[in-house]
């Protein structure tokens, strides 16, 4: 699964300016790692533009030099904040068992996290508080406080991935502003950390914040990569997530996923009359916001690919139907004007269509309609319940569930409804199939004694169950296809639902914090 990475990322769009660092004798730019291969090298050409895109979006599409004056600031004023902070010697630690030996046949060596083996031997990583050039009050808070919170965001993201063991606060020491680009490798080596993430935050004159993020290999005392963001204060947390994403992608070879959001159904009240509200939050639970007031039952929200809208089902006016909610305006519109029950909506990968189910006279089929509305096209016509449609990432196929064989099973068909093939054949029933954004897997709910979350290949092979509880339902993929959100219901009159996540190893299972109870999570794409 994992590819090793050595050398510096060829990402001139974000590194060119960074290279003008007076304190650094060598420049990373131009050192292109020719040994990179596999998925990583295929993905790398897109990497830099993606971050350039971040820059553009976060600052309102204004072209801006990234981190242009990092080095200068560090030298002129950087030491002020932490000049008196003497390094605190930490107890000598025996370095942990070298995590994740490089896969066989990998000659590049270097610092690597194995996403399957790494779960049992997470990589020790140091993420000290990010210093600020000068303590400034901003709408997001004081920059020194933000520097501490940014380090917390990176720490939590990496820890939650299950692949890293961030050093505890007691093992960390404060770093000075100039130290950001000249790490105390000897100190960090003594802590047992294999990787080191340092960064800084600076308030700009125009009201925006600049956040720099640097990843170092502690044992080889080398910088692996760096990036920086200029963000409005309202988006400061995103800079932390982007920093964590940079570290994660660089060390695991997997796609990024921390800078993303989740839409879900917030639940409260008694089991027989649960109040359900649409809610949206960052992937880590921050920036939580309710979107609907709970007067109508709402179910199964899913993001549009451009994240500007959410398609979901509502019982508004006691007419259960699918609606599109516009996040910017807060307005919602009915998608299919029809007296019949419409439900189970999901956008196509290009956002142009919405798959949904419609029940007519007790028979349910999968339909497609333009996301602008119009006449739906029927895709299945078997007697029975065909529902839960989900597109493959290239839009060419649809996975869905049908009870045409007598019980719920998973089927794959072409996007026009042709060539319907059953792919699930194990004991029990299979429901709620969702195609991974990576294309390689289908997540589902398996109904046997309880409900469990599982995965299988699009041809039905390699079935693996990831959870084992009373009722786990409704998987939704992380943007990189390595983590699945779902909801877990409890038994009995006091039984409540909560959001959980599990990764593909099935080992790293975690409850997602929400203000109230929660169900029907839908993970959005990586933010641009």
């Amino acid at each position: 699964m994992t590819r090793s990475i050595l050398g510096f990322f060829p990402s001139p769009l974000s590194l060119t300016q960074l290279d003008r660092h007076p304190g650094e004798g060598r420049g990373p730019v131009g050192k292109v790692d020719v040994t990179m291969r596999g998925p990583q090298s295929a993905a790398s050409p897109n990497w830099a533009p993606a971050f350039a895109g971040v820059e553009a979006v976060l600052v309102g599409r204004k072209a801006r030099a990234v981190l242009a004056s990092v080095g200068l600031l560090a030298f002129v004023s950087g030491s002020a904040a932490y000049a008196q902070d003497a390094p605190v010697p930490a107890p000598q630690q025996t370095p942990a068992d070298p995590a994740a030996p490089a896969p066989a046949g990998d000659q590049s060596g270097g610092l690597v996290v194995d996403v399957t083996g790494g779960i049992s031997a997470p990589m020790p990583i140091a993420i000290p508080v990010m210093p600020t050039a000068a303590v400034v009050s901003t709408p997001a808070g004081q920059t020194d406080v933000l520097g501490r919170q940014l380090a917390d965001i990176v720490t939590n993201d990496l820890r939650n991935s299950g692949l890293f063991t961030p050093l505890s606060p007691g093992q960390l020491r404060p770093i000075t502003f100039p130290e950001v680009t000249a790490p105390g490798f000897d100190y960090w080596g003594s802590t047992g950390a294999q990787a080191l993430v340092q960064g800084f935050i600076r308030a700009n004159g125009d009201g925006n914040l600049t956040v720099g993020c640097y990843l170092y290999d502690v044992s080889s005392k080398a910088e692996l990569t760096r990036t920086g963001f200029v963000v409005p204060p309202s988006d400061w947390r995103r800079a932390g997530h982007k920093c964590a994403d940079m570290v994660y992608t660089r060390l695991t070879g997997e796609g990024a996923y921390f800078d993303s959001r989740v839409v879900y159904v917030s639940e409260t009240g008694p089991k027989g009359h649960r109040i359900k509200r649409l809610a949206i939050m960052d992937q880590d639970g921050a920036n939580h916001r309710f979107l609907t007031n709970g007067q109508s039952i709402v179910l199964t929200p899913r993001f549009a690919p451009n994240q500007q809208s959410i398609v979901y089902m509502s019982y508004l006016n006691n007419r259960p139907a699918i609606y599109v909610y516009d996040i910017g305006s807060g307005k919602q519109r009915l998608v299919v004007a029809n007296a019949n029950l419409t439900f189970a909506p999901r956008f196509s990968p290009d956002g142009r269509n919405i798959l949904f189910s419609m029940a007519q006279g007790g028979n349910t089929d999968v339909y497609r309609v333009s996301s602008q509305g119009g006449t739906p096209q029927r895709l299945t016509n078997s007697p029975g319940i065909d529902t839960g449609g989900s597109y493959s990432p290239d839009g060419s196929k649809i996975v869905f569930e049908s009870d045409r064989s007598g019980g719920q099973q998973i089927y794959v068909m072409n996007a026009d409804g042709s060539n319907q093939q059953r792919i699930s054949f194990g004991g029990g029933r299979y429901a709620t199939p969702v195609w991974s954004p990576r294309g390689d897997l289908i997540a589902f709910t398996k109904l046997g004694g309880g409900f469990r979350i599982g995965i299988m290949s699009p041809s039905g092979g390699g079935e693996k169950l990831l959870t084992n509880d009373w009722q786990d339902e409704g998987p939704s993929w992380s943007p990189n296809g390595r983590v699945i959100n779902f909801y877990r219901s409890g038994r009995g009159s006091g039984g409540k639902a909560d959001l959980w996540s599990v990764d593909l190893t099935g080992v790293n299972e975690r409850k997602i914090p929400t203000p109230l109870d929660g169900s029907d999570p839908a993970w959005g794409p990586l933010r641009p």
Binding site: P270, K271, G272, H273, R274, K276, I297, L299, T300, N318, P320, A339, L341, F343, A344, S357, A359, G361, G362, T364, I385, T387, G388, E401, D403, G406, G407, Q408, A431, T432, T445, L447, F451, Q471, E473, G474, S489, R491, G492, S493, G495, S519, D520
Partner: protein
């Protein structure tokens, strides 16, 4: 057709085992569930009880007059069994007396199905009920259906008794 008879057999067996749809004396108020089971008293009710008097033709009158406003189903089933037929026959008689009254039929499922499937299953149950009433002479134009899937259980437990009570179609008179 063999599938249908299998369904009927399985359903009969389930009812025999769970006792979920025992025939009640017609004089009892319509309490579709056992006393041991917690009941949401306000589920789907609009009782038309004006000033303490029950208005003829209202939902309260309907509930008082029919053997039950609720029919139950076997696990993952939607066929109208003999018990349900007797209940729906009494509903059809009342509806024949008040030919201008409109009804909605709410279909529900227990919590052991997935959310979206259960919406479709609730729709199946509501439609099976509607079709039976239509066959008994109730005009389709007087009937609408709505599925709540597993969103509105009437019994809160996670046990066979509660699940049996929650697999239901409820006829509500629209006042």
């Amino acid at each position: 057709m063999s599938k249908l008879s299998n369904i009927l057999l399985a359903c009969t067996a389930l009812i025999a085992v769970s006792g979920c749809a025992k025939k009640r004396p017609a004089v009892l108020p319509p309490a579709p569930v056992d006393n041991n089971v917690a009941v949401d008293p306000s589920a789907g009710m609009n009782n038309g009880n004006v000033g303490g008097a029950i208005v003829p033709g209202s939902d309260a009158d309907f509930q008082r007059s029919v053997s039950s406003n609720t029919v139950n189903f076997g696990l993952d089933m939607y066929d109208i069994d003999p018990t349900a037929r007797a209940i729906l026959d009494s509903q059809a008689q009342w509806l024949a007396k008040f030919p201008n009254q409109r009804i909605t039929i709410e279909g529900h499922a227990d919590e052991r199905g997935t959310r979206e499937y259960n919406l479709a299953l609730g729709d199946r149950r509501a439609n099976a009920t509607k079709n039976y009433l239509a066959a008994k002479g109730v005009s389709s134009s007087r009937m609408t259906t709505i599925s709540y899937g597993k969103e509105r259980p009437v019994a809160m437990g996670s046990d066979d008794q509660s699940w049996a009570a929650n697999r239901r179609a409820v006829t509500v008179v629209l006042n």
